[in-house]
């Protein structure tokens, strides 16, 4: 199952993609993209762009004022009678859930799909504590029974055939299991219905959290989200701190974008708006409601001004669907809960680029992910930026190049932009390099540029272009008198510059 990886070897994983993976993944992605395209046409491509821009703006605004909206959210959820917990990392989040479970003597947990809970490997921790934890989204339920990881964010069991699922149900649940989707769904319905009614605790994620009202928004098609948040006496929602949005009008934009981009539905079947535990004006609902706000590396992502926009993601999966790389390897090769282009930028940032160094390179940079993203995350730009971080380390705040290299680059810029200095260089460099030169190459250079020569030799500086031209044509490009005049001018200029420097130094001392 999903353990937090310490090293993701995408290249090696790609070697183990089963042959049925690409065709089944492509069947799903083609269907979702087709549905999406139809709905974008219906909405009007121009209006769709306005909607995407609004989605981008609203998410960016929320992320840029995250501290404000998180505290507002906390206040509102608390006012509605809910409990808000802050979890620095996976360990903290797991122990908060376990603590709540212990307090209520919880034996059975039903879970609606939550990426955050998979990220912190929650099921494993609960099972270890002797608490039965069941995924209730049909696809998640199937991969949980199979002991596998989801291969697609929206259709987790897309890599499994109905025959394979029938065998799995027969082995794990007993009884007859015909290889037919309707019959298999009915088996899961009956089995999970009992679990919903018997569960002591419901776990869910949150698609959005509304700061203005303290509302947790949960989007599902099957109805399992409603079950998990209505029937058990305790509801625990766990969500990344990035999921907060300012107000209800923000939802009008984001809900329109989400389902269209994800499955190509106008809206998902069920959208629940959860406001604390059961209110005194209500008949159903849990007696207790807990919201766990998870950091687990997200504040680190915020620090990087380029990669920060990763946090805009609404987890629709559209970037997976268009990605040529994802379509050829499926979700498992990405080695963790997040796959496709968003996984390629999210995993290295949450786990560290040392752990997921391969992922920013698992892209052809074709740009399709950025074009399809409903909240306009500049995925190709972030992929490139993370490639740089993989190579140069994660010190995103400090300059990544050493001061010596930076000084060298500045000097080079100055020399190339100043004709007389350039001329002087063409005269001096061939002389300076003499001791290091071996034929046409400079095989060893002093630090810091030995970082280059450790890998490959540096070409020696050749004669300057004018000299080469003169030799080749026999006709001087610059008349001899002009060349001499220029040399004299350079000498005078250099002399003057030195004299000016000297007088300035003396002046400073006074």
């Amino acid at each position: 199952m999903a353990h937090t990886p310490t090293h993701i070897d995408f290249r090696a994983n790609v070697q183990h993609v089963p042959p049925q993976m690409p065709p089944s993944v492509q069947k799903a992605t083609a269907k979702f993209l087709g549905n999406r395209a139809g709905l974008v046409d219906l909405y009007g491509p121009d209006n769709w762009e306005v909607l995407r821009e609004a989605g981008h703006e609203i998410r960016l605004h929320a992320i840029h004022h995250l501290d404000h909206y998180l505290t507002q959210l906390e206040e509102q959820v608390t006012q509605a009678g809910g409990h808000v917990h802050w979890a620095r990392d996976a360990t903290a989040a797991r122990s908060i859930v376990l603590q709540i479970a212990r307090e209520h003597n919880v034996k059975r947990v039903v879970k609606a799909k939550s990426m955050a809970s998979e990220e912190i490997n929650l099921n494993h921790a609960l099972e270890e504590a002797g608490i039965q934890t069941l995924e209730t989204d049909l696809g998640e339920y199937i991969v949980q029974l199979a002991g596998e990881m989801p291969s697609h964010i929206i259709v987790p069991a897309v890599h499994l055939t109905k025959e394979g699922i029938a065998d799995l149900f027969h082995d794990k649940l007993g009884g007859d299991a015909p290889a037919e989707p309707t019959a298999l769904t009915a088996i899961a319905r009956a089995r999970l219905r009992e679990e919903f009614l018997a569960a002591d605790m419901g776990l869910s994620g949150a698609n959005f959290m509304v700061a203005e009202t303290g509302t947790i928004v949960l989007v599902t098609n099957e109805g399992n989200g409603r079950m998990c948040t209505t029937l058990p006496p305790v509801h625990v929602a766990i969500a990344g701190i990035d999921k907060v949005v300012p107000d209800m009008p923000s939802l009008s934009v984001l809900l329109k974008l989400l389902a269209r981009s994800a499955t190509g539905q106008k809206i998902s079947t069920y959208t629940s708006f959860i406001h604390g535990p059961r209110q005194s004006t209500e008949e159903n609902g849990p007696q207790e409601f807990h919201l766990i706000l998870l950091d687990n590396g997200r504040t680190r992502i915020l620090k990087d001004e380029v990669a920060r926009e990763t946090m805009l993601c609404i987890r629709c999966g559209a970037c997976l669907n268009v990605c040529p790389v994802y379509n050829h390897v499926g979700g498992h090769a990405y080695g963790w809960v997040y796959s496709g282009p968003i996984g390629s930028i999210l995993s290295p940032q949450l786990l560290g680029t040392a752990v997921a160094a391969d992922l920013p390179f698992a892209s052809s940079l074709c740009g399709a992910c950025g074009d399809v993203c409903p909240v306009k995350i500049p995925l190709p730009k972030i992929l490139l930026h993370l490639r740089q971080r993989v190579v140069e380390g994660d010190q995103v705040e400090a300059a990544t190049a050493s001061p010596v290299i930076q000084a060298g680059v500045s000097a080079g810029t100055l020399a190339l932009g100043t004709p007389w200095l350039y001329q002087l260089g063409t005269l001096l460099l061939p002389l300076v390099q003499k001791p290091l030169q071996r034929g046409a190459w400079l095989p060893n250079l002093p630090p810091p540029i030995n970082r280059w020569t450790m890998v490959r030799p540096f070409p020696a500086f050749g004669a300057d272009f004018r000299a080469w031209w003169n030799k080749r044509t026999g006709k001087p490009l610059t008349p001899k008198w002009l060349r001499n005049a220029a040399l004299i001018a350079i000498t005078i200029e250099v002399g003057l510059a030195i004299a000016w420097l000297l007088t300035r130094k003396r002046g400073d001392k006074k």
């Binding site: 609004a54 009915a186 009008p249 809900l255 106008k266 809206i267 079947t269 069920y270």
Partner: protein
């Protein structure tokens, strides 16, 4: 105490990353982050659109010109879906329409919505109203209250919603404006569905297998 420390630490990290302080101001939400709400057509077209969207998703719809026709419609539904037991919202509207009495007279056993979850789950039919409806997507909006228990539209295998055209709203904006302080509410758009096995659309995975919407005058 621990939780409090984690809270301060996380907020500090967020503020440091954003170069903000606890006193930093909040910029107004940019105008480009808002979209103009959809404008409603005439009531007739809106209801037609609502029904056509619900039907596209596999839901059944019916318009009654007269509330006296309700009993006949219920009789038909009870027969086609072989309904033995039903539960229903306790709203003034459903009482005024005489839904409970009509069902009893057809021979359907009535279970109180305040019975245990298991008993409600054993019902074949749950009858609700709808607080709002969105024609663009075929969505019904159901608030939760003592009279409107959440489980009635969730646990029985058939969900019947009785609506009136006055519940139609043009867009999400209006619904949120009216419902945002109402506590829990849910959007229901078609019957429960999944495509998790080989992308084959299958209805009734956890929620109702059948959604039936009847509009009364």
């Amino acid at each position: 105490m621990m939780a409090n420390t984690a809270r301060e630490e996380m907020l500090d990290k967020v503020r440091a990353a954003l170069k903000r302080t606890a006193d930093s101001s909040v910029a107004p939400i940019p105008a480009t982050a808002r979209i103009a709400p959809r404008t409603a057509g005439n009531a007739e077209a809106e209801l037609a659109s609502l029904f056509s969207e619900i039907e596209k998703l596999g839901g059944q719809t019916q318009r009654l010109e007269n509330k006296a026709d309700l009993e006949a419609a219920l009789r038909e539904l009870v027969a086609t879906e072989s309904i033995k037991k039903a539960t229903l919202w306790q709203t003034a509207e459903l009482k005024a329409w005489g839904v409970e009495d009509a069902l009893r007279s057809i021979g359907v056993g009535i279970i109180s919505p305040y019975a245990s979850n298991r008993e409600v789950a054993e019902c074949d039919l749950g009858v609700t109203g709808a607080d709002f409806a969105l024609p663009e997507t075929g969505t019904l909006v159901l608030r939760s209250s003592i009279e409107q228990p959440r489980t009635v539209s969730l646990l029985p295998r058939v969900h019947l919603a009785l609506i009136r055209p006055v519940c139609l709203r043009a867009d999400l904006h209006q619904v949120f404006e009216e419902a945002k302080h109402a506590g829990y509410f849910v959007f229901v758009t078609g019957p429960s569905r999944t495509a998790d096995i080989e992308l084959t659309v299958t209805v009734g995975v956890h929620g109702p297998k059948t959604l039936c919407v009847i509009a009364l005058p």
